[in-house]
Each structure stands twice: as structure tokens, then as C-alpha cells.
């Protein structure tokens, strides 16, 4: 199973006009980081992969399933993509408790209260299970958002600065949670990050974006940014 993308996405509303152009192949089980300055198109790329936006040109495919084909106006809706997306601003449902947020994320075929309890325990959220998102700190909300994405056991895990609001100790704990999940379920994981140490800690491969262009595609093990 591999994710293939060859896309161009234009923003007519941005001034000056902005164009995102990415061509890449990502194998199942690879952990890839998207690295680059703000406004380089990292979050946009995640939205395109999640199906929340449609590319202006090109195709996105997972295995034999074509998710997007702009020429044929083909677009697979987000819910049919087996994607877990951690939003930068968490996007937790304020009307549901922490536990209910995770339960809501579980597909009907995977309904398992014990699995939810395990996820809560892994993230150190057991004592917060009955709280609602407005009662959580930024770091707590970020952990819930991450576990909600994992509850779906997606084939494509998309992390949009998913560790940004965490303190050092909690960040290290969540690194381990994500790394364990990645090792157990071998999804294609793509993580947006501004931190080189985070990229080196988690990712095997790094795609560097600048002004919407893919300017570097490197293996972290080859010593990316270690100098």
C-alpha cells in the first residue's frame, strides 16, 4: 500500500497568488515529516490529503483507490478515506465529554469501551474523561485530539503540529504513544512540524516545503539537518 500524490493547488484569493506543487510517494509504515516555514503550504497539503479541499490539478491515490482526480472531477469525501487528522486548533466537540469525543470517533465496527479506556490511559487522560473541552488546558485538549484521531485506527494519520502545546515531559510521552501506534498499525503517518528535533525524533523521511514548492526530500537517517 502506498500513497501517491501529484498535485497542484492554487489559491486565487491569496495575494500574491500562491501555488502548492507536490509530487511524492509514501509507503505504508513510513513516518514522514512536513517541514518548512509558516505559509509554505504544509497544513494545506494535509487538508488536501484529508479531502477537506480539492486540488486544482493532479491526483491523490491510496493503493488502487483514487481519492482525487482533478481532470475527472473525482473527489472521495473525507469520511471514506480512512484518515485521522489532528487539527492545529484541536477541533474537539464542546458538547461532548473527553470520553464521548473518543467514542464518537470510533467507527461502529470498532466500538469498544475498553479500547477507549486504553487510549485515555495511554495519554494520561483517565481523570479528565468526564470533562468537556472548554474545561481543558491547551495541552490536555491537544492530547484528546491526538487520541481521537488514533481511535479511528486510520490508514493515513495526519498530525498538524500535534505536539505544539505540550510541555516537555508530556510531549515525550505523546511521542511514545504515536510511535507505538505507528509501529503497531503501520499507517502512513505525516506530521507537520516546525521543530527539527521533533522531526529527527519521530520521522524517517522529511519533505521540506518552501513557498509551496517541495525543495527537499530526505531520509532523516542520512543525517538530515544534523549539522
Amino acid at each position: 500500500m502506498q500513497l501517491q500524490l501529484d498535485i497542484v493547488h492554487r489559491f486565487r484569493s491569496r495575494s500574491p497568488a500562491f501555488q502548492l506543487r507536490v509530487q511524492a510517494r509514501l509507503m505504508a509504515g513510513t513516518f514522514t515529516a512536513l517541514y518548512g516555514p509558516s505559509g509554505s503550504g504544509k497544513s494545506t497539503l494535509l487538508r488536501l490529503l484529508a479531502g477537506l479541499d480539492r486540488p486544482s490539478e493532479g491526483t491523490i491515490a491510496l493503493g488502487d483507490t483514487r481519492w482525487n482526480d482533478a481532470a475527472k472531477h473525482q473527489h472521495l469525501p473525507p469520511g471514506k478515506r480512512s484518515v485521522g487528522l489532528v487539527f492545529q486548533d484541536y477541533a474537539l466537540f464542546p458538547n461532548m465529554s473527553v470520553r464521548q469525543n473518543l467514542e464518537f470517533a470510533q467507527p461502529k465496527s470498532l466500538r469498544d469501551p475498553a479500547a477507549i479506556s486504553r487510549l485515555l490511559e495511554m495519554a494520561g487522560l483517565e481523570d479528565l474523561a468526564s470533562r468537556r473541552p472548554p474545561e481543558l488546558s491547551g495541552g490536555q485538549a491537544q492530547r484528546v485530539a491526538l487520541m481521537r484521531a488514533l481511535a479511528r485506527q486510520p490508514q493515513l494519520l495526519l498530525l498538524d503540529e500535534a505536539f505544539a502545546a505540550l510541555d516537555d515531559a508530556t510531549r515525550e510521552r505523546m511521542y511514545r504513544v504515536v510511535a507505538d501506534f505507528h509501529a503497531e498499525y503501520t499507517p502512513i503517518t505525516i506530521m507537520v512540524s516546525h521543530r527539527k528535533d521533533e522531526v529527527r525524533r519521530l520521522a524517517e523521511r522529511v519533505l521540506v516545503l518552501q513557498d509551496g514548492q517541495l525543495v527537499e526530500d530526505a531520509r532523516v537517517a542520512d543525517g538530515w539537518a544534523s549539522g
Binding site: 484518515v83 477541533a91 458538547n95 464518537f104
Partner: protein
């Protein structure tokens, strides 16, 4: 005191509000999301009853529903419906007249729910109905309550449209606001006052209940 006009008013308001909610909810959802170029025209049509004199709206509905004209004749011949001087006619007229009071608060409510909540639910594989039921409606309860109460209260207070389309047939179209008018016309101020007082108290209690509920909701959520 004859309670029939008050009960008829209540029945009209309940039926109208329910129908408005069923029609208004999908329309408000669509209006909150669409980029359709003709959206301002549709919004203007929805809002027209806000600025149109009730007698004008009532006049056009009377003309349209009259069996003497093609549309009214079509309704009578095809569905056996006679909308002029009937309770069914009052309901249809009330639905049209109170349409903006249902659609506008709901549309504002949908727009107030952060877009990323809907998007998060979409990425979790939820259907439109599930998103509506579990994400959108629970996070716009105040707007739903406002829409229901405004539509209900506006229907209770109708006069011009109801008079034009329904007249004053006791037990069929003589709602409370018409009864007040009739009693005043007959110089029977005591009876008019009783109807008016009940309407006043009823409206006041509803509004107090709504404000109390909204306050309680705000306190429990945040």
C-alpha cells in the same frame, strides 16, 4: 369566556412551528454553506415577510388560494384542498409569514458553529445527518430555541394575514387576535381585555422561560 380562539391560536402556532422547523432547518443549513450566486435572491425571498405589510401578503395569498384562480382551482381539484377561510389555509399563510423568524436564527446558528467542528466530524466518517444531530444542533441550541420561540410567538401575534386569508369563522379561523378585534368592534371591551391579557401573560411567560433556559445553558457549558 370562550376559550376556543385561544386553543385555536395555540394549535395554529404549534403546527406552524413544527412545519417551519422541518422546512427551515435544511434551507438554513444550505444557506449557511452555499456559494450559489443566486443566494441573495433566495435570502431576499425568505426575508420578504419581514418588510411586507401583512395585508399585502394576505391579499396575494387570498388571490392565489382562491378557487376562482388557477392555483387555487388546481389545489381543490387535485388534492381536495380549500385554503381560503380554512384552518389549513391559516397554517400555510402562517408558515409563509413566519418563515424568516425560523430560517434567519437557524442560519446564524449554523454559521456560528466553527467550521473545523464539521470538518473534524467529516474526517471521522460521519454522515450529514450524524453531523447535524451530534455536532451542529447541540452547538447551536440557543439559535434553535430562538428560532422556535420567535416563530411560535410571531404566529400567536398574527393578525393581518390571518384576517385576510381566514376571516373570522368561530372554531375554524377565529384565532385570539381576531377575537380581540371582533370584541372591540362590538364595544365589548371586557371580553377583549380577557383575550388580550391571556395573550400578554402567555407571551411574557414564554420569553422569561427562554431567557432563563439560555442563561442556564450558558452557565452549564462554560
Amino acid at each position: 369566556m370562550d376559550w376556543t380562539p385561544l386553543l385555536l391560536t395555540l394549535k395554529l402556532a404549534v403546527v406552524t412551528t413544527l412545519i417551519l422547523f422541518v422546512i427551515g432547518l435544511p434551507l438554513a443549513w444550505w444557506l449557511s454553506r452555499t456559494r450559489f450566486p443566486g443566494k441573495p435572491v433566495i435570502e431576499a425571498v425568505v426575508s420578504l415577510p419581514l418588510v411586507l405589510p401583512p395585508s399585502v401578503l394576505g391579499f396575494y395569498l387570498l388571490v392565489a388560494f382562491s378557487p376562482e384562480n388557477s392555483f387555487g382551482a388546481f389545489l381543490r381539484d387535485t388534492f381536495g384542498l380549500r385554503l381560503v377561510f380554512s384552518f389549513a389555509g391559516l397554517v400555510v399563510a402562517s408558515v409563509i409569514y413566519s418563515f424568516p423568524f425560523m430560517v434567519q436564527p437557524l442560519q446564524a446558528g449554523f454559521q456560528s458553529v466553527p467550521r473545523n467542528l464539521r470538518e473534524a466530524a467529516e474526517t471521522l466518517g460521519k454522515s450529514r445527518f450524524e453531523i447535524l444531530r451530534h455536532v451542529l444542533l447541540p452547538n447551536m441550541k440557543s439559535s434553535v430555541l430562538t428560532a422556535l420561540v420567535l416563530s411560535f410567538a410571531h404566529t400567536i401575534g398574527e393578525f393581518g394575514v390571518v384576517l385576510m386569508i381566514g376571516g373570522s369563522l368561530p372554531g375554524r379561523t377565529r384565532v385570539a387576535s381576531i377575537a380581540v378585534y371582533d370584541e372591540v368592534e362590538s364595544l365589548n371591551y371586557a371580553a377583549a381585555n380577557r383575550y388580550a391579557l391571556v395573550l400578554l401573560l402567555f407571551s411574557f411567560v414564554i420569553l422569561v422561560a427562554v431567557y432563563t433556559l439560555n442563561r442556564h445553558r450558558a452557565q452549564t457549558l462554560f
